[in-house]
């Protein structure tokens, strides 16, 4: 392989890992938005919480492979409680839900600081090997993260398409009232979706804890990127979020790989503006009554 090609392949691999994480966060945002019209900004903090819980479980002796699902379940449950305690009162006014999530950012971020302090935690590395193929360095840990993301996304698609709960979710997303008239317990589905969104974000956080050092302000960066991804893909559209995640991951990686690095965020947000100007509701707009009234 020529050097240029191997560098390019290396950058592609770099982009792949980060896209997987963005996709998980964006899916968390997008499923909740699709159902409720609430943009849950505090999902960034749920990601941080997932990362720290994973670390705490791991530190307590649990293996990393069990720590991540445990953290995801815990955060999913916590997210469910938040829905029951706060978000369900804002379903008529999604903007209020958005504001509640802003307030929760403060609460959760400082809660994490109270519990774990402001310091960082070094990454957990279950796999330390690095594969070298044609000049491309591929840490096994990164492959692991990519595959976990792919499997989770695949599972999510299967659940949405082929299970009763998945169909109910899609029905609620498209038309909440009509879904209720089918006998679907809409409130339960919404609560379940909050749990799912939280669990997805926490999984992303757990995976991040194996790649990078984590600190209590971790969530905000991923939230903003995840939100950008969800918007580019079309808020509420699950397939769109995955494609957009790859697009944003590539832009960011290639932008900082081949152009001036310090302008990286400008590339990403420039792309976002350009796409939203051409397609104001994202590349693959979700179609439902909620989306029509909100956007």
């Amino acid at each position: 392989m020529s050097q240029e090609l191997s560098v390019f392949m290396q950058q592609l691999f770099n982009a792949l890992t980060i896209s997987g994480v963005y996709a998980l966060v964006a899916l968390g945002i997008t499923v909740i938005f699709g159902l409720t019209g609430i943009v849950k900004f505090s999902i960034g903090e749920l990601l941080t919480l997932g990362a720290f819980l994973t670390f705490a479980f791991w530190e307590g002796g649990t293996t990393f492979f069990l720590a991540v699902p445990l953290a995801a379940i815990a955060v999913g449950g916590f997210s469910l409680l938040l829905e029951r305690g706060a978000f369900r009162f804002t379903l008529d006014q999604p903007i209020n839900g958005f504001i509640v999530s802003l307030g929760l950012i403060l609460v959760l971020q400082n809660l994490i600081i109270e519990i774990w302090g402001v310091g960082f935690k070094a990454p957990i590395r279950p796999f330390t090997q690095v594969w070298e193929v044609g000049g491309v360095s591929m840490p096994v840990q990164r492959w692991f993260v990519v595959w976990v993301a792919v499997v989770i996304i695949g599972l999510l698609f299967m659940v949405l398409r082929y299970t009763k709960y998945g169909r109910a979710m899609r029905a609620c997303a498209e038309d909440r009232d009509a879904a209720a008239l089918m006998g679907i317990p809409v409130a339960l589905v919404i609560a379940g979706t909050f749990a799912l969104g939280g669990a997805l974000a926490a999984t992303a956080g757990g995976l991040l804890a194996s790649l990078f050092a984590i600190q209590p302000f971790l969530g905000s960066q991923y939230l903003l990127k995840g939100f950008a991804v969800a918007l580019v893909g079309g808020l509420g559209n699950v397939e769109g979020a995955v494609i957009a995640a790859v697009l944003v991951g590539l832009t960011e990686t290639m932008g900082s790989g081949y152009l001036a690095t310090e302008w990286r965020d400008a590339y990403t947000f420039g792309l976002l503006i350009a796409i939203l100007l051409v397609r104001p509701r994202g590349l693959f707009p979700a179609r439902g009554r909620l989306q029509e009234t909100l956007q």
Binding site: G103, L106, L111, F269
Partner: protein
């Protein structure tokens, strides 16, 4: 249709009929006049400095109120426009020695132009797409402020070479003539308040509200929604730009750092101010700005007296965040909204009392705004 009023007082009179002078006009007037006495009432320069900060915040918040409160558009670029105003003023003052009297309109206009420039593409979208596009522009502007080093001096920011010291005969150098600087800032705070009031009373303001309430209805009535959103955004930018001059004078520098107008911190902070104050009330942003600046001054010592003792900042933030969540859940119209409800109830009770006394009750006792 009530014609657009030519005088502030006239509008005020129409808004609050004379019969309600005791229940609404007088307390409101006292409340609004109170800041004039601040230099006499506040015991220290430190608190007067905070009052200046509150006045600056108030101008910024009133600007955001036009686009967020009136038109209902969630702009996440507003504080960046504040920074644009400050940078414009700093550049003009440092490189061309412009006097204050010229800096204020120049900063306002440049921020308004920036707002319109962002608005032209951004208003092709709505809702969260609009919010995130404005946020994207804000991030890009921040990146520019950090990296266009020839113009902005990078992360170090711009510092005033010779702080402007007077408008005409009035000295307002910020340490020896802090009272004057306070009154100058306060004057513009009042102007901004009058500004949002007059806009609200005007046909333009009613159009904004119509757009907020029902955009498609407004469109079907022949209103050019896009143009009016642009106007609202431009106006809000003007307010922010003017406030930028005062920020620059107060801090004597402007930089794109983590606690500057370019930070997401302030973006959220100002949204919270408006929400806590009341996003459907004219006085909401004012109340919110005053609360945001002075509440910690009151709360910290108070908590210190309780068994809770000295709370860590993290815990205070947890309390603050929870309060916000509870406010949204239980009082979505903020402090002003709550006050108005209570006041409305009080006024109604008074009216009933008068009716029972046999007096001819005047109609329309509810406070508007």
């Amino acid at each position: 249709m009530v014609a657009v009023s030519r005088s502030f007082a006239g509008t005020l009179l129409r808004q609050y009929p004379p019969a309600d002078i005791l229940t609404i006009r007088l307390p409101l007037a006292i409340l609004l006049a109170l800041p004039l006495l601040a230099p006499m009432l506040l015991p220290s320069t430190r608190l007067l400095s905070l009052a200046i900060t509150a006045a600056i915040f108030l101008i910024v918040a009133n600007g955001l109120h036009i686009v967020f409160g009136y038109t209902g558009q969630l702009s996440l670029a507003h504080t960046t426009l504040w920074g644009v105003g400050a940078y414009t003023a700093a550049l003009l003052a440092i490189h061309y020695g412009w006097p204050t009297a010229a800096l204020i309109p120049a900063a306002g206009i440049s921020a308004a132009i920036a707002a319109v420039a962002i608005g032209i593409p951004a208003f092709r979208t709505a809702g969260f797409s609009f919010a995130i596009i404005t946020f994207a522009f804000a991030e890009i502007l921040r990146t520019v402020a950090i990296n266009w080093r020839d113009l902005t001096n990078g992360g170090a920011g711009l510092m005033l070479r010779t702080p402007p010291t007077s408008i005409g005969p009035i000295e307002f150098e910020t340490i020896r003539h802090l009272d004057n600087f306070y009154y100058l800032t306060l004057a513009f705070a009042y102007l901004s308040l009058a500004g949002v009031f007059l806009i609200r009373q005007s046909r333009l303001g009613r159009t904004f509200i119509a757009i907020r309430e029902n955009e498609s209805l407004a469109r079907s009535l022949g209103i050019n929604v896009y143009l009016h959103k642009l106007i609202a955004f431009g106006l809000s930018g003007f307010f922010a730009g003017v406030a930028g001059v005062f920020l620059l004078y107060n801090n004597q520098k402007i930089e794109p750092g983590p606690l500057s107008p370019f930070s997401a911190f302030f973006t959220i902070q100002f949204l919270l101010m408006i929400l806590i104050g009341g996003r459907f009330s004219m006085l909401g942003p004012t109340i919110g700005a005053v609360i945001a600046v002075f509440a910690p001054e009151v709360i910290r010592p108070l908590i210190g007296l309780t068994p809770l003792g000295d709370l860590s900042t993290a815990r205070i933030q947890i309390i603050f965040g929870s309060t916000l969540v509870l406010t949204v859940l239980f009082a979505p119209n903020g402090v002003a909204g709550q006050a108005k409800e209570r006041y409305g109830a009080l006024a109604a009770a008074l009216q009933k009392f008068r009716e029972r006394q046999g007096g001819a009750a005047p109609p329309g006792a509810a406070a508007g705004g």
